[in-house]
Symmetry: D3
Subunit: 251 residues, 6 copies
């Protein structure tokens, strides 16, 4: 049994509250256990300089924590005057992952800005951010798709992420909370599509290593957890979910 | 009648959700109409260098908006690499205001860090932040007071703030929303204590001016609005409210 | 009697040396007692991006102190790599105040850059800066008005500022020097126009509060002090003063 | 056949020039095809604040490119005033990977600073940096081990890294050069120990995805390439290689 | 004849107003023609980290221009968030030059902070800064010497600087104003001691070069100009000048 | 005899390896004794804003050291977030010096970016950088000259630099290594053209001074050292050397 009573492959309770804020084109508050992230999607009618004239769109992401999302208060990055390496790594990951399921040709020269603001952190903030940001982005692009009469539905597949790890005594576990994450020997973040393909696999054994066999188990555990997330996303998205499924089968 | 149907001196609906987050010593989500601010209070067991050895505590505040709190997405200050003048002005104001009702001798060499993160902005974010931060700070110091057996209750009075302004056609109005704020000729933020004393009065006539008579009306309107806020704060604080009232009468 | 022998409502000696520097379109050295500020006004033939195409001009201000303006040497903000919150607050105040008496439509798409560099600080640097910057700006716009044949005189009224405060033993006093400022319970900066209207009122009771009655007295004291400043400004400006008065009565 | 005539699993020629510089405790110039990286290891007799008093050492890494390592000149990060997200991601990866094969208890409160400066970039700079930095670090710690009479040899295993990817027409290939990297659908960096354990697996399908089966093939290809690198490292290290092998078998 | 009617070796009128400000331990306003620099010297009772424990003092300098010292307004370095290369070069030069005539052993572990703030720039600001800063520093150290009963007078010689250059038609000229400086083919700054020794010689032929013979002439011209400056410094310093001369002859 | 056995006017062994890197238009690795600098020249098909429309080209330089070029590891300037004063001074010097021998009219609106990256530092890095950068720049502009059919050869003369100094016991010496540089009383960097003209003379007597006679000797010593460098440059450049000599005699 894990510290919070879950079985090895069990996710924490996931709650996705859509339209959490009134201003963004898409927004959700996602809770994965005690981890809570506000994800918003904003549509800008232009692309960054390196994409201009390409006829294609772009998706970019930013990630932050409020100072007291954690047990100890963290200094704001605006006060420090710079963004930490950890934040940069995470926001690059989120943007890359989301671009895997958006048809950038369909949306044309527009940027989708994803903002993931963690208001409470209990492990797995980056994977919760991806899972939630996918919903916020879909809401925003769905509205746009209705207004703009796109050639195809702009979202080509579902996308969700979870963490897996190897924890002493339990072995391979899914969706680590902060306590588990702090003591895990191996930590892996996995992003997958609704079609069961991998988008990102990032496994790290800080001061430890892992065998091919363990890697195998971690990936299977991640797959099983992410399947659960797709069901939750599907329920939340309603008609948008149907359109994604339709687009997915056309591939 | 105002754009949202309120009378001149009527506040927007105010909702204060306490213990909104689990990590901070004190936290609230305050809503004033569509304006929503997460206020947290964190206790640090030391003071900034300029206070060391004084035996006295300190209260300091930070303020930020998530990028899509507003109609248009704003660039993050961490991405810009610096905090704007507007943010600095606001966080200095919040800190100064809160210090007026804390007995810094009583709390000893500790810092109360106040963080006000605006997740939705519809005018009056700085005054909502003050009104909410007072609750978060009181919750944090109340818990501390219970554990530490202070010589006196550390909160000496209530504290709340509102905006008032002069808007064409309506004249003097209380608690301006974004639309009113954008068109107001005079804009004033007023912070008061439960005893009816002023802590801060900041009135500005950008590209306009105001007479002594108008100033008088603005101050009276602010007083009436802030009285309402004290009632709401009192309900929310329960026993802590009683202890503040006790301490207040001792003065 | 105050520490420097003044009566409660008495200003320190004010001296305004015009055309102090040869390069700026307008410049003064203003001394208010031991406080000395170089104020320059520079005309730029364009406006910031957010004003382009509006047909209107802009006034913006910057404020700094040389390191040894004060008793202790302060680190330069350029060395720190950032502007402090205090500086930002002051320069926003100066810009806002000056814009209240400039007809931005008349000057067209031009920016007036105001620079206030404090070379000696003995309290009241921001109010001295406003009073002096008004003269520098008028000198610059007066020259421009002569050359450009504007539709109306671009300065619509006089503008000056002073500080008032409540000091133990003396009570309400006008134009606080550094020593008084350090011990004042309430500190208020007031900016007014020649017509007796308020432009800015910023009153703060750090670790203290003030009543409606005290606020009243502070405002009256400020009014009396600022009247004195208008006389000095008027003497210094000569013909420009007449043109301002003419424009003022047209309103 | 690949663009440069290699077979799918063939590495580019690898050359490791040890003692390339005279000042660092350890240094190499590693060439992997046209990619060239100067790796240095410096010993500092203290650890960062978060490790003080732990009795353990630390390994940290920095990574940079000279401006003209690439086909187009890149602006220096010192001129930009900040380190990019890509650089931060890479230097965090290098540090983490190296720490997996250092016995931090043995080296005591010392920091090994690894600097990887790319002077020519043709794909795979981060994996070349890890492979080379391992040698530089071993040289530095070997010298220290001789002088300090450590309880055990401080390097516990070999460490090397390569990239693998899926390129149209070729399928899975090892050690991608810049041209292959630019067109690869999937890109994966793998870090392994001499014992055949994984330390880091980072696979990304930017605007593409990959199946479990493809992931399998990629990992096997990486293993085969890294085996080659261990032989080269072993030849270069001589006696130090023997000591690592001894320590490895003790585990 | 030169643009302003001077002969080739003639300095512009030099005026040194001592005790220009009340707060600094030493201060002057130096005017060299239209160039005006406020120079202050502040004594700090400690040295920078790299000098601690040496028993010796330090002299360091900072240099800045107010935005409208020049014909066109320059952006403040604090607003830019960084100090330009030109400023750094100048402040390093000033500090180095002054240290040549201070007995750092005599003053003990103290720092003399020199601040040179240019309020009007018409060429030669760095040499005017050195000539003026020498006076400010001497005033500050003279007062200290009186109080502290030093083992020897802390200033060991006079120090002054001028610019020389080669201007088309005039040839070698001394003390170039802005107009001459802009068109000079060769530009040289020379710092000398009262004993006729060189401290700094910085000659530059931007887009031009100069022969050994021309270099000779430039140095002689500089010597003649600097002799004039020593006379002015001597008159201004009075008794301090005598003590410097005494100390100088002891060498 | 000097510390490394050289005679007073003897240079350290100089080695210039051309085409050291494959990407830059021109590149060398220059070694002057143990000092080693990678110099690259990159051609950009546009000029900085202040040169646009002038029809003329520009040459600009950047300089850096890898962290462990020196005995002690230096923090990277990218990590510090700013470029030091020393670096700025050096890169301004390199750019200025190179511009003296390039016909900016001939190359048209193009920028030559010079990058000097010190990989090993043993004194004289800035003069080695200039001597090496001249070769890198010539290689780049020579290739361009061949392709573009310029009106004249763009390099108008040779350019090289060395350091000279006054060291106790030896007196005047040429090409100081780190140990000599650290103890020199006077330190001078001299840049000259193949025609024997001076481009830059920067002599500094930190905590010491020098007489006219010593200055004379220093300049003569520099001349003799730089003559040696021209021979080495000539050998390395081959046909480009002939074209420079041709262009030089046309002047």
């Amino acid at each position: 049994m894990r510290v919070d009573g879950r079985t090895e492959y069990e996710l924490r309770p996931v709650k996705i509250e859509t339209h959490f804020l009134t201003n963004p084109e898409g927004s959700v508050l996602i809770s994965v256990g005690q981890t809570k992230v506000i994800c918003t999607a904003s549509i800008e009618e232009r692309v960054p300089p390196f994409m201009r004239g390409s006829g294609k769109g772009w998706v970019t992401a930013e990630y932050a924590m409020i100072p007291r999302a954690t047990g100890q208060r963290n200094m704001r990055e605006s006060t420090k005057g710079k963004v930490t390496g950890r934040t940069m790594e995470i926001q690059r990951l989120i943007g890359r992952a989301l671009r895997a399921v958006v048809d950038l040709d369909v949306i044309g020269e527009r940027t989708v800005w994803i903002d993931c603001d963690v208001i409470q952190a209990d492990g797995g903030t980056r994977t919760a951010a991806i899972t939630g940001a996918f919903i916020a982005m879909t809401l925003a692009l769905h509205s746009l798709a209705i207004k703009k009469d796109f050639q195809a539905y702009p979202i080509t597949d579902f996308l969700a992420a979870t963490s897996v790890g190897i924890v002493k005594e339990q072995g391979v576990v899914v969706d680590l909370n902060y306590e588990e994450d702090s003591t895990a020997e191996v930590d892996m973040n996995v992003v997958m599509t609704g079609s069961g393909q991998f988008v990102e696999v990032q496994g790290t054994g800080e001061e430890a290593t892992f065998s091919m066999n363990e890697l195998q188990q971690l990936l299977e555990a991640a797959q099983s957890g992410i399947q659960e997330l797709f069901k939750i996303q599907s329920d939340v998205l309603g008609v948008a979910a149907d359109l994604i499924n339709e687009r997915k089968t056309e591939k």
